[in-house]
Amino acid sequence: MSLLTIDNLRISFPTEQGLTEVVKGISFELGRERLGIVGESGSGKSMTGRAILRLIGKPGTVTADRMEFDGIDLAGLSERRMRALRGARISMVMQDPKFSLNPVMRIGDQIGEVLSFHRKMNAAARRKRVMEVLEAVRITDAERVYKLYPHEVSGGMGQRIMIAMMVILEPDLMIADEPTSALDVSVQAQVLDIMDDLVNRTGMGLIIISHDLNMVARYCDRILVMFNGEIVETCAAKDLADAQHPYTQGLLASMPTIDERRTRLPVLDRTLLGGD
């Protein structure tokens, strides 16, 4: 049975030129697997992730024929029930720890906040659980980190803290929106390995939203390529090199390689693709 079913999802925003559709009727299913959604800025990939958590605020409008998570109809859920779901069963890791963590709250308290919201737990038990989850994201000196403020940790550690916050309640689905693009390459691999390990251990579903085709190809099982609000290609990660759609092929070709012999990189011709 699939964990998440999205059918004909549309997201639009009013502009001076009338209603603009940023996601134009996409459908996909997710099992307990790692799915990568790739596309460039403006392709609608982040909007799709947010829509699943019902985080698209007014004046945006979201419609879907079906949006079901583990048998629950997400579109019909009351805001109260939705809040109980967020963080506990579906969670989201944001792009930049610098802007997503509360700057005036100690890390330990911040991670523990999720627990006090969703579970009844005394302070000692909460602290113990926070320590456990900090260790699960390979923070070795959890005692020390617990007491720090976000500005006192590095970007890589900040992102691991965000992941800790998101997995503390062992959700069934984690949506990671550009989880590593604010990080260094060497730290990127570490953060992705941690997420990968958590997915393998807990069997949760994972959606990685990214513009980085190579990264997604390496860490996901299946890839959706979005362009201009539509899914233009779906393929198994290992078959990415044989992508059929001209947009995917263009993206792949425009990336330099370690052994780069071309004097000019090919540039996407958006007009040919019918983009704007």
């Binding site: 060497s186 085709l213 425009s254 330099p256 090919p266 540039v267």
Partner: protein, 259 residues
């Protein structure tokens, strides 16, 4: 293309000098913390050098020292014939300019493209601003209609073109590039990389690129240095990178991590 007169003058002044950037025993410390230790490297005129390393390795610190933003370094920094002075060095600004990583943070949000580009000219008392601005817009492939726009009206790629144009306004022979494409989409990255490569060929610029992206180095540079914990662990040619044959263990580790 731009009249390039000033650029030509500078190039003539440095004619015969083999190295455009020459660092000797460069060490930098913040207080008691040593950040860069005894780094020596040189980049020939018209060359392109890539400095790679993780965050915290000191690569941006070296860049800042060359750009004159950090002044408490020891050792020698030489740009062409000019020995960099400790403290503020006015000659430096005409010698090298920098392109920053994030085009969203590096442009003044309330100044038009025109103001951003003419400011360095005004400061240095250079005339003929109108033509120079238009020439530079053409050189970086920005349509002239963008001249009076504000940064928020431009896309990321367009903004980075403005940042490159700003760096070119004073015709410096050296360009310092701090992760110039890492904030951009891949297809936009390709456009900006192509532009940087073309500008270097047309104007004989010398590039000093700081990045963690080895494929970008492979496309844009002739030589590279690998920095770790403030020390240069390896100097390599681009062919060594292409054949993935670094001699240091750490170099190989970086290769295995990049995908």
């Amino acid at each position: 293309m731009s009249d390039g007169h000033d650029c030509q003058c500078l190039i003539e002044r440095f004619w015969g000098v083999i190295d455009m950037i020459d660092l000797k025993h460069l060490s930098i410390a913040y207080g008691d913390t040593s950040v860069v230790r005894d780094v020596s490297l040189h980049v020939p005129e018209g060359g392109s050098f890539g400095l790679v390393g993780e965050s915290g390795s000191g690569k941006s610190t070296i860049l800042k020292a060359i750009a004159g933003q950090i002044t408490n370094w020891t050792g020698r920094i030489r740009l062409g014939e000019h020995d960099l002075q400790q403290g503020r060095d006015p000659a430096l600004i005409r010698l090298c300019q920098m392109v920053f990583q994030d085009p969203f943070g590096s442009l003044h949000p309330r100044k038009t493209v025109d103001t951003i580009l003419s400011e360095p000219l005004t400061i240095h008392g250079i005339r003929d601003q109108n033509n120079r601005v238009l020439d530079t817009l053409d050189a970086v492939g920005l349509a002239r209609k963008f001249r009076f726009r504000l940064p928020h009206q431009l896309s990321g790629g367009q903004r980075q073109r403005v940042a490159i144009a700003r760096a070119l306004m004073l015709d410096p022979p050296v360009m310092l590039l701090d992760e110039p494409t890492s904030a951009l989409d891949v297809s936009v990255q390709a456009e900006v990389l192509n532009l940087l490569k073309a500008l270097r060929e047309q104007r004989g610029l010398t590039y000093f690129l700081v990045t963690h992206d080895l494929p970008v180095v492979s496309f844009l540079c002739d030589n590279l240095g690998i920095l770790r914990h403030g020390e240069l662990v390896e100097l390599a040619t681009i062919d060594q990178l292409k054949q993935q044959q670094f001699s240091s263990e750490y170099g190989q580790e970086l290769l295995s991590k990049s995908y």
